[in-house]
Symmetry: C2
Subunit: 495 residues, 2 copies
């Protein structure tokens, strides 16, 4: 099986499911819907066809946690396509990939260098591992104030201060599609015998076209997590974890995956990963080219009007970074509409967007985006401009700059799954955001999107953090925290 | 929103997705397939319809980790339907539910009473929590030797020996549909101020019909995990976690769920949970009645012939337990065919089954099973009987009795995510099963199904365990372990 020549035009998982479905077998196994026989009639037009291949680990359909057949072959094809030595299919999104790579590399008490603006699943991984993080500061985009990534100087400084660090974890690109050159960072780490772990959730399409940055794997990263559902065509929750090199224990990694992923993984999601891979393997360049056409239309039309700008429009003002052309962050140049207001106005026109921050609305295009999509959003912006009279620049046009995160290398911050020592000793109370200043947060508080934690459990609420949080809430930015959305309060330790 | 009257005929998540899909919006958000525009043409007939509702947390579609809209409403309807105070939708199967309930109840060093024959995800939960387990022995079915569940006497003894225990976790029913009466066990725990956690993965249909056992919630359990995809009609990985009472910290539980589940949960899976709930909420009795008809046909036909028996056929010989009628474990009474051989023969006839052990083949019927399914398996058995000449009882007809697990209450066994102290000190080696006797396993070794670990990491390989494992492998039973399926070897510590 291992020697079988790889045929990139095959989609082994999908083909096996299709073959099984065509055999008209009788099911005396899970799932309970019995290939769709039990489907709710009202939902049949959406569900019946997919349920015919919503199967399980019956004979011939292999086992994600012990792949010897179609899943093993599909994973080897994925490794070939994305440039890894080994690839693992994830059915729990990049979340489970991030949890896995951290709990594989770090034991309780171990120390990891971590980019400050990481996704909250990275923090959760640190908590599960019981590891400590030394947070490295990030560069910032000069115009938008957006956090981008770590510098090689700070990585070198971090390694010098903490030679016991197990490695470095970065989230690259960021939510806006901005990233840093990982090649020199990977080299530096490897010279120190340490691995580079990359949460590349938004970069599954990287490296398939000269207009795109190279992939993290091509830059030398040791473990890379990609959300195949975000920028390619897998079903939501379909993701991959890729490995190369010998700096990470692969047996332990497989054990962690088997621990953290469902023992009943979704075959439709796995098949969609298989199909997404085949598309890119066969026609990656053409597929990207197709999507870039929509991108080019949007950009060209934006350049022809004066109301709406986009991040990166004035290239000279940008800090050095790599930029994903599929992420277009637009804003109202007249200063009339905030990000959330522009988002709402676009949605009234039927254009649903990825997210908004205080100023920007992020349009996330992908290789599947079309010319029609491009013209539709431009038309919507025209309507919005006319309706709100955006031709006049308002007095209050100064853009709001996002609050910056600390610019120094942090001291080691210990994360643990347990925080009941605190809970037991102090208990928790709910306080308004302003009352909470000076207290320690009892939970992670994460504006979402982009999912970068503003407060970690145990971190003190500073006045700056409270003011920023208050502003986000006031502007309708969603914030993940247990009570904030219900009572407007934060849960803090009652010291 | 909280006061809104519940209408069980609504399916809020599905309805919102359907409404969004019908609006013909343009997508500038994930997922990358853009409502199916990027689907692989070869797979379109399976995927296109579901991809139109494979959406994400855009405006109006709520947020699983912060539910305030359709997901919150769907979860309240589920709580009403299944008899919980609060219900949470799981998109990572019962696996994530088991991990969550253990990491919510147990801190590192805490002790939990645990039924010995639990699913491996329970062991993984103990490892994540860094908790210790005191394993309680189980009763056994007198005829098949199958492990069933804990006795109230052993629970009382466990509580007496370990008053510091945080609670009790049981898997009930077992894979074969056998279980114990949880009511007195729940009462005993509650008198001691401790919660009962139930992995009820195979019992989501319990309590909806007088022919079925009552649900764990009805028996008083505090936290219950159900695989809605196994016996009801959700898509695979769709499950629920239910809570009642005040013995478990619900805020912490929500935090754990947000940590362990994808931050991009699958909407089709959530919608399928919503629809499965509506079906049972509206027509639970009739739906079960429909499935029982298929069960009754299979049983009546089995009773009319002499080649094949089924577990529980001779009711007097059974130990006291509750039995799910939808699980029919058949075997070759003549002793000619082992479980795996009978499974293979059935699959040649197009009847795919849930699993086989050494002797039995488990036919898993559900409310969606039909009369046609029932007649088809009976016909297949007739063919098999004729082909193998099963009318004559062979000499070797003595059934193989599964090896029994320890019958005493265990000492506390500490689990931890870290086992690199051992790895660092000793390293690991791969040995054949027989060579491994006396060594400590470096990983969990789990015959699968039914997914009950035979060896835990760090547990010594006894001669009995090695012989049993050798027999399982020889008979074609799949065993989860890193190298066993490839090289036939176990990974053990090189002490």
């Amino acid at each position: 099986m291992m020697n079988r020549a790889l045929d990139r035009n095959r989609a082994p998982i999908f083909e096996a499911l299709q073959a099984h479905a065509s055999r008209k077998t009788a099911s005396f196994h899970v799932p309970g819907h019995k290939s769709g026989a039990g489907v709710d009639p009202a939902s049949a037009s959406f569900f019946t066809s997919i349920l015919s291949i919503d199967l399980t680990e019956i004979t011939g359909l292999d086992d994600l946690h012990h792949p010897e057949g179609i899943i093993g072959e599909a994973q080897r094809l994925a490794a070939d396509c994305f440039g890894a030595e080994e690839s693992y299919f994830l059915v729990g999104g990049s979340t489970v990939g991030n949890l896995t790579m951290i709990t594989t590399l770090c034991e309780p008490g171990d120390l990891l260098l971590v980019q400050r603006n990481v996704h909250k699943s990275v923090i959760n991984g640190l908590m599960l591992a019981g590891a400590s993080a030394v947070f490295l500061p990030t560069s910032y985009d000069a115009v938008s104030g957006t956090a981008i990534g770590v510098s090689i100087e700070d990585v070198a400084k971090g390694l010098g201060l903490y030679p016991e660090a197990k490695g470095l974890l970065v989230t690259n690109p960021n939510y806006y599609g901005m990233g840093v050159d990982l090649r020199r960072i990977a080299e530096l780490l490897h010279r120190n015998g340490k691995p580079l772990l990359v949460d590349e959730a938004h970069g599954a399409h990287y490296g398939f076209h000269p207009s795109l940055p190279p992939s993290a794997l091509a830059c030398g990263a040791d473990v890379v997590v990609q959300s195949t559902h975000k920028m390619l065509t897998a079903m939501t929750m379909g993701a991959m974890l890729h490995v190369q090199g010998q700096l990470v224990n692969r047996n332990l990694l497989k054990n962690r995956l088997a621990m953290l992923q469902s023992s009943s993984p979704s075959y439709p999601i796995m098949a969609s990963l298989d199909l997404a891979r085949r598309n890119m393997h066969m026609n990656g360049f053409e597929i990207i080219e197709h999507g870039l056409l929509a991108v080019q239309i949007v950009i060209a039309q934006l350049d022809r009007q004066d109301c709406f700008g986009y991040m990166g429009q004035d290239a000279d003002a940008e800090g050095h970074c790599w930029k994903d052309p599929f992420k277009i962050s637009i804003y109202d140049k007249t200063g009339t509409l905030t990000g959330p207001q522009l988002q709402e106005a676009l949605e009234e026109q039927g254009c649903f967007v990825e997210m908004s921050d205080l100023k920007y609305v992020l349009l996330l295009l992908t290789p599947a985006s079309t010319r029609e999509d491009a013209f539709r959003v431009i038309e919507a912006l025209g309507h919005i401009s006319a309706f709100h009279g955006l031709e006049r620049i308002k007095e209050s046009a100064t853009p709001l700059a996002p609050a910056r995160m600390p610019s120094e290398i942090s001291v080691p911050i210990a994360f643990q799954l347990s925080y009941s020592m605190d809970l037991d000793a102090w208990g928790t109370i709910e306080l308004t955001i302003q009352e909470a200043v000076g207290k320690r947060s009892a939970e992670m508080v994460t504006p979402y999107p982009p999912g970068i934690p503003l407060l970690y459990p145990g971190e003190r609420v500073t006045q700056a953090a409270a003011d920023y949080l208050q502003m986000l809430v006031g502007m309708g930015i969603r914030v993940h925290a247990t009570a904030l959305g219900i009572s407007g309060k934060l849960i803090v330790y009652n010291e």
